[in-house]
């Protein structure tokens, strides 16, 4: 493909949020009629970049050039009018309305007195749906459509304008194979019409199937662009994670102590069934599986947030009934939750206050909270975890993801738990802080905690765990020691490809 004038060009885009530089000097361009794939790990800045493109965020630096002239897109509507259209990962349709109303939402054709011109509307939508080979009517209510068809409605929406660039954000995440074929046909049609396509996905085979070029982001920086025809998955992966896919495993041989937590045949309705495992002091047990495999739900049950329907939990040999987080904490169990900002932190509160929150009742002189006692605790874990913040007074919302996570971990270390459960320890955290947190988890295990790590990132699980519990669809499929586990058998286990399932098939 010749490098003609790009339809869209991003030059030196910078975007910062409090405490985070989400995009740093990022370059990106789209040629007419090409599919340009954008890749990067979670938190690499893909979504931020797309939101800048779609007029939802204003860049702090750099410029956006469309057809050779710089533009400022203050709102999503302005972006649309300049021909840049984003097909969201989470579909954003008005479910109660008809297909036609959704397609022209905000820009319905009007008659005199501002009344909607239904006839024109339905005709125009009909033409577009035909072009997309859709088998539903303009008057069909959107909430009666499947996800794949809703996606078509989103795409139809893109075609109401003179689309120059269409951005697909993880478009195949919830599509069946057949539906994917239809989507890819539509993308090729758009390509043939000279529309530039930005395609964001984690799925390598799709990217190599569809794209002309591949650009990679890592930690908010631009890492380069490759011609799809001249590269391979390894090269792309290396660019993405900054190393090749061989993981050095952190765990040396550990002295494990007594069983700190043991779970027997635990079930919770349809969420997970018949789960049994043990965690000893001094070891890290990793839980790996797809989203929805039931891992977080098990953690929530252990922390008293869900009631199990059957089964038994033992803490240090004693059978316990855990009915609330308060009880879980009293039993010596702590949970660093999956979603730091929603579950882990009171964002507007200071670093110190967040860290001392669970034990605030103990840190008093008379009826009053003792600031000195609080600071003692804070300083201990601030130093131990090497938290970087200008002052304890800083609201945690101003900290980077890594430092926020350390505050949450510090909060629980102060309670001296026996069992520490960490759900997605490094989600949305940059690579540097990631390895710090990994080392920290190892160190904690060594110093006598029983640590459970739940993660959706295979390198992470392989990296920190002494043993790995593989889950699929609410069941434990297999337990691996660190010697047995390989990427292949782990993937097999979490995809449900064990002997059991083969028999069923």
């Amino acid at each position: 493909m010749s490098i003609s004038n790009p339809t869209l060009q991003l030059v030196g885009i910078v975007k910062t949020f409090p405490g985070v530089r989400a995009l740093d000097d990022v370059n990106f361009d789209v040629q007419p009629g090409e599919v340009h794939a954008l890749l990067g790990e979670n938190g690499a800045g893909k979504s931020t970049l797309m939101k800048v493109l779609a007029g939802m965020y204003q860049p702090d630096g750099g410029k956006i050039v469309i057809d050779g002239s710089p533009v400022v897109m203050r709102t999503p509507l302005e972006a649309k009018q300049s021909g840049v259209i984003l097909i969201h990962q989470e579909l954003s349709l008005a479910e109660e309305m008809t297909v036609a109303e959704n397609v022209f939402l905000g820009e319905l054709p009007k008659k005199r007195f501002g009344l909607v011109d239904w006839k024109t509307l339905h005709q125009r939508v009909y033409v577009i749906l035909n072009k997309l080979n859709c088998d539903f009517e303009p008057t069909t209510p959107v909430d009666s459509l499947s996800i794949a068809k809703k996606q078509m409605v989103e795409i139809a929406r893109a075609l109401t304008h003179d689309a120059k660039v269409v951005i697909f954000d993880e478009p195949t995440a919830s599509l069946t194979d057949q539906e994917k074929v239809v989507l890819f046909d539509v993308i090729r049609d758009l390509q043939a019409d000279g529309v530039g396509i930005v395609y964001i996905s984690h799925r390598m085979e799709e990217i190599f199937h569809l794209s002309n070029r591949i650009s990679v982001l890592r930690d908010g920086t631009y890492r380069g662009t490759l011609m799809t025809a001249e590269t391979n998955e390894d090269e792309v992966t290396q660019l993405m994670i900054g190393r090749s896919l061989s993981y050095e495993r952190l765990h040396e041989h550990v002295e494990t102590g007594d069983v700190a937590l043991s779970v027997e045949n635990l079930s919770c309705g349809k969420l997970y069934q018949d789960v049994s495992f043990e965690v000893r002091t001094g070891e890290v047990v990793g839980f790996y599986g797809l989203v929805g495999a039931g891992r977080t739900e098990i953690a929530e049950t252990l922390f008293g947030l869900r009631k199990p329907t059957s089964g038994q939990i033992h803490l240090q040999g004693k059978a316990v009934d855990i009915n609330s987080p308060v009880e879980a904490i009293q039993f010596g169990l702590s949970l660093v939750p999956e979603n730091r900002k929603e579950q882990g932190l009171v964002l507007a509160m200071s670093c110190r206050d967040n860290m001392t929150l669970p034990q605030i009742d103990a840190l008093t002189t008379g009826p009053f909270v003792s600031g000195t006692e609080e600071l003692k605790i804070y300083n201990t874990y601030h130093d131990q975890l090497e938290i970087k913040t200008p002052s304890w007074r800083q609201p945690v919302q101003n900290l980077s993801g890594g430092n926020q996570q350390k505050i949450v971990i510090g909060k629980w270390l102060g309670m001296h738990p026996k069992v520490l459960i960490v759900d997605e320890p490094t989600r949305g955290i940059d690579v540097g802080s990631k390895s710090e947190i990994h080392n920290l988890l190892r160190k904690l295990a060594k110093s006598g905690y029983a640590v459970v790590v739940i993660s959706s990132e295979m390198p992470e699980v392989l990296h920190v765990s002494d043993r790995i519990v593989a889950m699929y669809n609410g069941r434990v499929m297999r337990e691996f020691t660190s010697d047995e586990v390989t990427e292949d058998n782990l993937i097999q286990a979490i995809s449900g490809l064990s002997d059991n399932n083969l028999k069923v098939a």
Binding site: V14, T16, F17, P18, G19, V20, R21, D24, D25, M56, G61, R74, T75, F303, L305, S324, P325, V326, A328, I329, L335, P337, E342, Q343, G344, L345, V346, L347, A348, M349, D353, L357, P358, I360, D361, L363, T364, P367, F368, V369, P390, Q397, N398, K411
Partner: protein, 330 residues
Amino acid sequence: MAAIEVGKEPASIDVKSLLARQGIFIAFVLFMIGFGIFSDKFLSPENLLTVLRQSAIIGVMAVGVTVVVLSGNLDLSVGSMLSFGTVMVVDLHDKLGATPAIGIMLIAVLVLGAVNGFLIGFLKLNSLIVTLGMLSAIQGLTLIYSGGKNVDVADQETTWFAIFGRGDILGVATPIVIFAVLAVIMHIVMSRTPYGRRIYAVGGNATAAVFSGIRRNRVVFSTYLISAFCTGIAAIILGSRVMGSQNNVGQGYELLVLAGVILGGTSLLGGSGNILKTVLGVLILGFIQNGLLLLGFPYFAQWIVTWVVIILAVWLDVAAKRGRLLSPIA
């Protein structure tokens, strides 16, 4: 493009929010000066004390409502709860004597507060709906209790009950003293005790509070007891001052109280603000209303102005959060 710049954005937002916050105080100062020019009585010590005394009832209620708002909820039932409490305490005064009247009335409003707290804290119903419903339910309760008749204290001259609304302590009108003492105590409770910290945590992020081992249900429940208690105290002051009560005496107070809380800058989303800010907000409101009266505006004009002031305060609050006055997206 050094990494130092990364921390810059929150700082600049702080400056903007400071400006937006001060905007209302600047407006207030201009207001005071303006009123002072047009009415020579406005800035006289007698008038300032009058405003303080008149603000005390709303202020006492606002202290309680601030606690509720800090935990992330609303309490709109305080208006009719004030009517109920006042009618009850005045009615029981002649039947049982001042002390039992006060005791029974306080227990009764605490029960009403407990109903709010149970529905919102334990059943997790929306506080706007629950307390709006309670607002009219308690009004109904008041009318049933009184049979629709107004009540009076027969012997207004000799009862010691007069101290709360008409008396003074060391030369300062009792309502002002009660307001000040209550505000200081609650400010200390909120800023210095573990209980206060829990309320801020629940208001700032209820989920994270639960994940930190805080019993959200109980915390929310307790804030409605505090709010009801404060309203009960306000009912004593009002009953004592008037020595009688109409069934709808507290009508509209819920909005004035909320206006004071919002004007002070306590966030309706919870978790940010404090009692002393509310005291300031209530005083601002009192001075605006007093100034309007002195300038000869009809009494009902106050309601319109109060509404305008609330809207202005909410707008500035939201604008301060997003760092600009107008925005195409929230």
